[in-house]
Symmetry: C2
Subunit: 395 residues, 2 copies
């Protein structure tokens, strides 16, 4: 059985639907927790499921390098290896090759890169990434794309986009496993004309779903959402739309408002491990001394395990003491917060009250300052490149 | 209701009993997982309970420094703060003051020390540690003792022991909360004559239980167990006996064989985080490349969550990738292994087959080389002193 999508309701641009996968029906809009290396950092699969998630993202680049595609296959595929019986979408590795690998050379045929782990050289082609994702056993797989940087010229973005198109065609032809859905990735940077052409080209090929790639890579947020709105409006109504790498509460709600169905990002889990916890007023930093005496939970009416069980003062204590439980409890809280937000949005769409929900959200929520956000992301990318990531800081 | 002890059966020196605490009956012999800072590292209280544990150890020194006794009290005591409804035994902090604090000066009145966290100066007296433990709300509390080093002279060990005796008497007088059991700590190093005198002095004061302190601090293992055997034989049969800081499978079984009822040690959880996992053949190092292709669980017939759910190859992958889940799954396995061993021993004692169990254990188990063990412990103590402990390496 291949994945399918059913659009249930549209409300002022926001959509409620169902992603039907071989491993269960996933209500949309949906956020996918990131488990790049075959584990949602700090959590067991039961915990991820317990929070309410039915689909996660894993990464071909990471799993190819470690433990290796052969090894995952030997362990009966990714689901079995990590004991996750929900759906899995795998990213092709395109983004990681361009953002993490210390060297990366693109040709018509594919992309040569060095491993960020040991410096060894590797070669990905569209055909190979489809084969790898098939062998990993993912339910939804992604085409290999070429990512542009925010400061790339129109010509460079255009070239990357056109190569992405040719690679998308090759991925489609290379697909053998018909039970896996294949999503294309719309590129074109922040140039409306390129995005339009990318949508046109890819929708003519008729993929199972369409992702918006090359966004949230350093451009001003206003530009991100203008591009999202324009691109989403051009995509076929009956196919799922996936905004890659976007995962803050404020960005998700704005994505849904522009017709996005699927999101993924390491942000909720990564910032959790740094002590940044989501509340309806914005992110709070649990390491802040103000929390040392707070007997109440982090979010008063929160239904997550962390808030139901422990005071904010105790979580503060765990962070100050460097206790491993801290990262876990914070991850549970942030993932629960996002899941709860997705459910609220879905109910608002089906109930025809999405605009009111969005207004209510913004009446309380103070987003993280954009400059802070961008500098944090750059710091994180740098530490990844230097190989400093030990699971606590990165994702 | 105060804790009590009921001896059920003795079999070739090994004992089976029940520790009756205000928070449930704990079958003995029992091992207590260590939660120094108010958390058993990497696990939720539900997980600790789920493995089968009914009693844990927490530490007055650590909790006094962070989050502070006032704060724990404000959060309705240690049980409530950490959401643990089983029994808690608190160590007085004596051992930590002598092993972790960068400066420590003993007088008749008490001990002055500097915090290993911020260098601030503090003063513990027997009376204060009893008060602190009372306010933490522990079910069983320990006297403040003076720890000798293994290379201390007879005279120095004697002086420390005599001061420990006077402090024990002061602790007994200072006790206000009669629902907390108070255990004394037998000192005297590896000198049989001093140990005998320590037992004599402390049993005359009639405590609720007796701990053997100042062992497993660098002395040869043969000497440890000679001292344990001699000391245990002199202790009253009807009171529980607690061997502090001992927690490897091989040492626990030898402790039980010499009449010990209670154990605690950070070893099972600490070595787990370094990838050393218990098997019936001895410790294995899951980071070893040999495990990269092992589809079977770490221990074939193990009933723990980790072994029931994941292959050894996956755990190996998590460790190599620095994934936080690794520390947790390894901790679960080692704590389950020890709990299972305690249950096996208890059944063997009540069934009259303890000697056979011990023989069987030793026919398979290869203990960790003692030199390796001692050098690892010294390395760990050094890293604690330098304040490098971030929860992954230390305990």
């Amino acid at each position: 059985m291949k994945s399918d999508f059913r659009l249930i309701k549209v409300c002022t641009g926001a959509r409620a639907g169902e992603l039907i996968t071989p491993r269960g029906v996933v209500p949309t809009p949906v956020f996918m927790p990131v488990g790049s290396q075959g584990t949602v950092k700090a959590l067991t699969p039961e915990e991820v499921k317990g929070i309410g998630y039915g689909m996660i993202l894993a990464n071909t680049y990471h799993l190819y390098l470690r433990p290796g595609i052969d090894m995952v296959e030997r362990l009966d595929g990714l689901h079995k290896m990590m004991a996750w019986d929900g759906a899995i979408l795998t990213d092709s590795g395109g983004y990681q090759v361009f953002s993490l690998a210390p060297l990366c050379k693109v040709s018509e045929e594919g992309v040569t890169f060095r491993s960020h782990i040991d410096g060894s050289e590797h070669f990905f082609t569209p055909e190979l990434t489809v084969e790898y994702q098939s062998r990993l056993g993912a339910d939804i797989i992604m085409v290999l794309d070429v990512c542009s940087a925010y400061d790339d010229s129109f010509e460079k973005v255009q070239q990357s986009m056109e190569l992405t198109h040719r690679w998308a065609e090759r991925c489609q032809k290379a697909r053998r496993n018909q039970s896996q859905a294949l999503f294309a990735i719309v590129q074109g940077g922040v140039f409306p004309e390129l995005r339009r052409r990318s949508v046109e080209f890819l929708t003519n090929l008729d993929f199972d779903g369409y992702a918006l790639g090359g966004l949230s890579v350093g451009e001003p947020k206003k530009l991100t959402f203008e591009t999202v709105a324009q691109t989403a409006a051009q995509l076929p109504e009956k196919k799922p739309r996936y905004l890659m790498g976007v995962g803050s509460p404020e960005d998700i709600i704005e994505g849904v408002a522009r017709g996005i169905d699927i999101f993924d990002s390491a942000l909720p889990t990564r910032v959790a491990r740094n002590g940044a916890l989501f509340t309806w007023e914005g992110r709070c930093n649990i390491r802040n001394a103000d929390f040392s005496r707070v007997e109440q939970p982090i979010v008063a009416d929160c239904g997550c395990y962390t808030c139901r069980t422990f005071s904010a003062a105790y979580i503060h204590h765990l962070f100050k003491s460097g206790e491993l439980l801290a990262y876990r409890l914070a991850t549970i809280h942030n993932l629960y917060f996002i899941h709860n937000l997705m459910e609220k949005m879905r109910m608002a769409v089906t109930g025809g009250t999405f605009s009111r929900l969005r207004e209510e959200f913004w009446s309380r929520y103070a987003p993280t300052d954009e400059q802070v956000r961008v500098s944090q992301k750059q710091k994180w990318l740098k530490s990844k490149r230097r190989g400093l990531d030990i699971g606590v800081e990165g994702n």
